[in-house]
């Protein structure tokens, strides 16, 4: 299988921007834990960047409430193409245990398009690494078609 320079560079350099959209912190601390020595997603070339304009992947956690919904849209619009979105956790995937509360959206995909869903309440760091690997495969597949 021939791998183009484009997809090789893209899949090996996933810069993450993390948005906590009204989450309970559970997913966020597990996401941060996946950067720390035991899990260390920098092995895959992923690193946390401070500005959405530098990022390739938007990692969204939480139950996107109306205040954060507008912010989330603006952040997504600020990211340069190609951009990918990971919905981290049950709340971001479809509302989770908060389903039916008056101030939550049922999932990130109601607001912005999502590429990878990582379920769990909260997902373990291993699951986050698995999700990143799925995203790498997806990038490769899209580019080779």
């Amino acid at each position: 299988m021939r791998i183009s320079l484009k997809s090789w560079a893209r899949k090996n350099s996933l810069w993450l921007f993390h948005v906590n959209a009204a989450s309970c912190n559970g997913c966020d601390i597990e996401f941060v834990a996946s950067l720390t020595p035991r899990y260390d997603i920098e092995r895959l070339g992923a690193q946390l960047v401070p500005s959405p304009k530098h990022a390739d992947v938007l990692v969204v956690t939480g139950t996107v409430n109306p205040l954060m919904r507008e912010r989330l849209k603006r952040i997504y619009e600020q990211m340069p193409e190609p951009k990918y979105v990971i919905a981290l956790g049950a709340c971001a995937g479809g509302g989770g245990v908060m389903k039916g509360c008056y101030n939550v959206s049922h999932g990130v995909d109601k607001v912005i398009p999502v590429d990878i869903y990582i379920p769990g309440c909260p997902p373990r760091p291993e699951a986050i690494i698995y999700g990143l690997m799925k995203l790498r495969n997806k990038i490769e597949g899209v580019e080779n078609e």
Partner: protein, 414 residues
């Protein structure tokens, strides 16, 4: 008398300043900001690099959980309130469960009370270590951050062995805990605690000797205790001002009447003393865990209770890692709560933190603001406050977005 008046004046200014500001020198801090792992918005008004006023705009993590508890049964509500916050999740479920227990006549088995203490203290260690690592991150000391988070994994391993989960434990239940301790857990607990106590000594040395950390934290965020006590702070923030107040001692729950915690205080009321205070609390928690694991009595871990809870009002509080966590529960005798009121430590502390920041520079914002160990997920479970001009917003989301773009355009080159 004059000192009383000056205190009164400072307190007045703090609360009045929440709504008065001028747009010059305004710097937004958040809601999505690298220093905050959670969304929260602070308007910072600057003169050069000096902070004149800081206005919190809380509500970005509001979900409406208090309303949602009214639509769930008592047992479902435990798992819902647990998900208010991922860091102090056991404290939330414990606070709720104990408040509900005080409405019933069932006794919690002694073994379950010990296990509750064990998990609560492990959670305190995990939360304090997490905060300490993030202090390293905020001051730009990534190495410290990585080391501390590596050591934190040891506590999470123990929590996972006992409860089955790393973050949301789903462990406390009405009159007890859901499952018994696994076999041979003493060995694991003892080895992990031995390792951690060595590391805590090492971190204490780093914090008190590393010059760059000292310059960033010593004397930063000082606040007069007389002013602070009027603003009703809780937890380590209150203890670092010299007030000896801890719910575990003042109103013992779980097994805290048998294994008594030592309340640490400090009188410096700055960020460095907060760092030392939390490290000392970790040491004390390690001692309590080691005491509890040897003294743990045999017996059942829960009793069976009916699905309905007798009519009445009850209030209870626990000492979460961040301070006093308050629960009020009203039952009408049915299988669902009529009203659950939660007051989290961060909401109590935020007023004090804004007062602590005045007169400091922009570089101190992440250290001080997060020095109180905020947990906005907790705070916003109900509260949404827009302090912006106090004017009525009657526009929909899309208009708001356009308004934001326009605002950015007009205020761009100030």
């Amino acid at each position: 008398m004059s000192s009383d008046e000056s205190i009164e004046k400072t307190v007045k200014e703090t609360t009045a300043g929440l709504i008065q500001y001028s747009p010059e020198g305004l710097v937004p801090f958040g809601p999505v900001h690298p220093a905050l792992k959670e969304p929260e918005y602070f308007k910072i008004i600057l003169e050069g690099e000096k902070i004149v006023q800081i206005i919190p705009r809380i509500g970005y993590a509001h979900r409406g959980i208090e309303r949602a508890t009214q639509d769930r049964t008592w047992v479902q509500a435990i798992y819902l309130v647990e998900r208010i916050c991922g860091i102090c999740s056991f404290a939330h479920s414990l606070g709720f469960v104990q408040t509900v227990e005080s409405l019933t006549e069932y006794e919690v088995p002694r073994r379950a009370r010990y296990i509750r203490l064990l998990i609560a203290e492990m959670e305190r260690i995990h939360s304090h270590l997490l905060w300490l690592g993030l202090v390293g991150y905020w001051t730009g000391f990534d190495t410290l951050f990585m080391w501390i988070w590596r050591d934190r994994e040891r506590v999470l391993d123990l929590i996972e062995m006992i409860t089955g989960n790393r973050v949301h434990k789903s462990y406390a239940t009405i009159t007890g805990v859901r499952r018994d301790l696994p076999e041979n857990i003493e060995r694991h607990v003892q080895s992990a605690m031995k390792y951690l106590s060595e590391r805590v000594v090492f971190y204490k040395e780093i914090v008190n000797t590393e010059a760059t950390i000292l310059t960033r934290t010593k004397g930063v965020g000082w606040i007069s205790p007389d002013v602070a006590i009027r603003l009703c702070p809780v937890g380590p923030l209150l203890r670092c001002m010299g007030f000896k107040r801890d719910v575990r001692v003042d109103d013992p729950y779980a097994a805290y009447d048998e294994i008594v915690p030592e309340v640490k205080t400090s009188t410096d009321s700055d960020i460095l003393s907060l760092l030392n205070l939390r490290l000392e609390e970790i040491e004390d928690s390690i001692r309590m865990i080691l005491d509890a694991i040897t003294a743990i009595p045999p017996g059942p871990v829960k009793t069976t209770v009916p699905r309905t809870i007798p009519k009445g009002d009850a209030m209870g509080h626990v000492e979460a890692p961040r301070g006093e966590l308050f629960y009020f529960v009203r039952s009408d005798g049915g299988n669902k709560p009529t009203r659950v009121k939660i007051r989290t430590p961060t909401l109590a502390n935020i007023l004090t933190a804004t007062e602590m920041l005045k007169g400091h520079t922009l570089a101190d914002v992440p250290v001080v603001l997060t020095g109180m160990d905020p947990c906005f997920g907790c705070m916003d479970r109900l509260t949404v406050i827009d302090l912006d001009e106090g004017k009525e917003w009657q526009i929909n989301g899309e208009q708001l977005r356009r308004y934001g773009i326009e605002w950015y355009k007009n205020n761009k080159r100030e």
